[in-house]
């Protein structure tokens, strides 16, 4: 089930650990920046559910497999166009635990209204 494809992209995620391994070493006092990769296509995001950790900086790397889409999470003040052929980055450091909706805000067709997901910020 797609909804179950919950990419648990906290800093403990395997993919992120791989990503960190490729980064230059950072001072012990600095928090590493986690990376979450999000692929958009009509009319869904993969992953649709993203878990982040409060206070941990994250970069969302957004790409599209077909046409232009939007990524808008108003409560987190996150918004970007996702254009074909390029990766768009959004940086965020969640400050408050909770669940936040994100959705496509560039009209993309008959399933546009249902193209949405959720970001869960945990303590």
């Amino acid at each position: 089930m797609k909804n179950k494809l919950l990419a648990f992209c906290t800093i403990c995620g395997t993919a992120l650990m791989l990503d960190f391994a490729q980064r230059p070493s950072v001072a012990a006092t600095e928090l590493p920046t986690a990376v979450v990769t999000v692929a958009a296509k009509k009319f869904t995001y993969s992953p649709q559910f993203i878990t982040l950790k409060k206070g941990v900086p994250v970069v969302l790397k957004l790409s599209t497999e077909d046409r232009s889409h939007g990524f808008n999470a108003p409560a987190l003040n996150l918004r970007a166009d996702i254009e074909p052929g390029k990766v768009t980055e959004l940086k965020v450091t969640p400050k408050t635990a909770g669940e936040y909706d994100f959705f496509c805000d560039i009209f993309c067709g008959s399933g546009h209204e249902g193209m949405a997901g959720k970001i869960k910020v945990v303590e």
Binding site: S68, G70, N72, P74, A75, D81, D101, F103, D105, I106, F107, C108, G109, S110, H112, E113, G114, A116
Partner: protein, 307 residues
């Protein structure tokens, strides 16, 4: 109380059919529309129809998808008091990736509404009509996506916030709006027609216009402004400053209250209450009394104005 006005009001109630109509004469403590009585202002009626989504298929939401608009046409044609004009505030058709299908839907829609007993029909696009091709096909059938017209002392401005798939009015159109408003007196009677809400009704469901605040800023110096819009498939009334915003019901599928459900999905059909949440609006511009009255007409199985 002015006796003439009260008689007119009673006549309106009678014509509208009290049983099926909700009248709104006040919005959050102020007149629904405040109109200057100066100039060529004169009372009149117009109808707002919205979000007909011709071509939509989904029996669980509307098993009479091909009949609902026809019922609206029949109801409207049975109104005893004919409107001066009818305006459709967008999403005339359900979107499709196929241009040929889009054209077929627009042609069918236009053929059906040509049966309306109205001298003038004004159209506006919604994102389903215009966002996938920046309004090109829409223009072939219905003309410009933004325009102005004047009627009995009221200046109408149709704003397009859907041809840009990002839901923006855009700098060029905002400049056009600014230039048009520069020609109006500060107490001019102004009605804005648009599809998406100009204010942030519920951004989490994309019920907003990305640069709508800029349009509101341009309108704010004018003392008599009212906005009629669609998009959210339900009646909703809101005020920004002194500007009233009224959304209309859909004629295809009703939507839930903002944020009342986890997802922005249509309200399922109920056999116990068929056509619930679907309807159109009659707007009586009581210009001489300096306000509007809004009458909401539900669609019903018999396509009759309910008494």
């Amino acid at each position: 109380m002015n006796i003439d006005i009260e008689i007119e009001r009673r006549e309106f109630l009678k014509l509208a059919g009290i049983g099926g109509v909700v009248l709104l004469s006040e919005v959050i403590g102020r007149p629904a529309l405040s109109l200057s009585s100066a100039g060529r202002a004169k009372d009149f009626y117009f109808l707002q129809l919205s979000d007909t989504h011709w071509g939509f298929e989904g029996a669980k939401v509307n098993p009479d998808a091909k009949g609902t608009l026809l019922k609206a046409v029949k109801e409207i044609n049975s109104l005893k008091h004919k409107p001066d004009f009818i305006v459709f505030t967008g999403d005339l058709t359900q979107t499709t990736d196929e241009t040929s299908v889009r054209k077929a839907r627009m042609k069918e829609f236009k053929d059906i509404v040509s049966q309306l007993d109205a001298k003038i029909i004004r159209y506006m696009p919604g994102e389903h009509d215009a966002s996938l091709d920046n309004g090109e096909t829409y223009k072939e059938f219905f003309g410009e996506t933004h325009y102005t017209f004047d009627h009995n002392g009221v200046h109408f401005i149709a704003l397009d916030n859907v041809s840009d798939p990002k839901g923006r009015i855009g700098e060029a159109q905002l400049e056009w709006l600014k230039a048009d408003l520069a020609k109006q007196k500060r107490d001019a009677n102004i009605v804005v027609l648009t599809h998406r809400p100009l204010f942030d009704l519920y951004p989490q469901w994309d019920w907003t216009t990305a640069d709508g605040a800029q349009a509101i800023d341009l309108l704010m110096p004018f003392s008599n402004v009212t906005v009629f819009y669609g998009h959210i498939h339900q009646e909703h009334h809101h005020v920004t400053g002194h500007i009233a915003h009224h959304s209309a019901k859909s004629l295809m599928l009703p939507m839930p209250l903002a944020g009342s459900m986890p997802k922005r999905t249509p309200i399922p059909w109920s056999d116990a209450e068929p056509y619930k949440g679907l309807g159109f609006r009659n707007i009586w511009s009581r210009t001489r009394a300096s306000k509007f009255e809004l009458a909401e007409y539900p669609i019903n199985p018999d396509a009759k104005i309910l008494d």
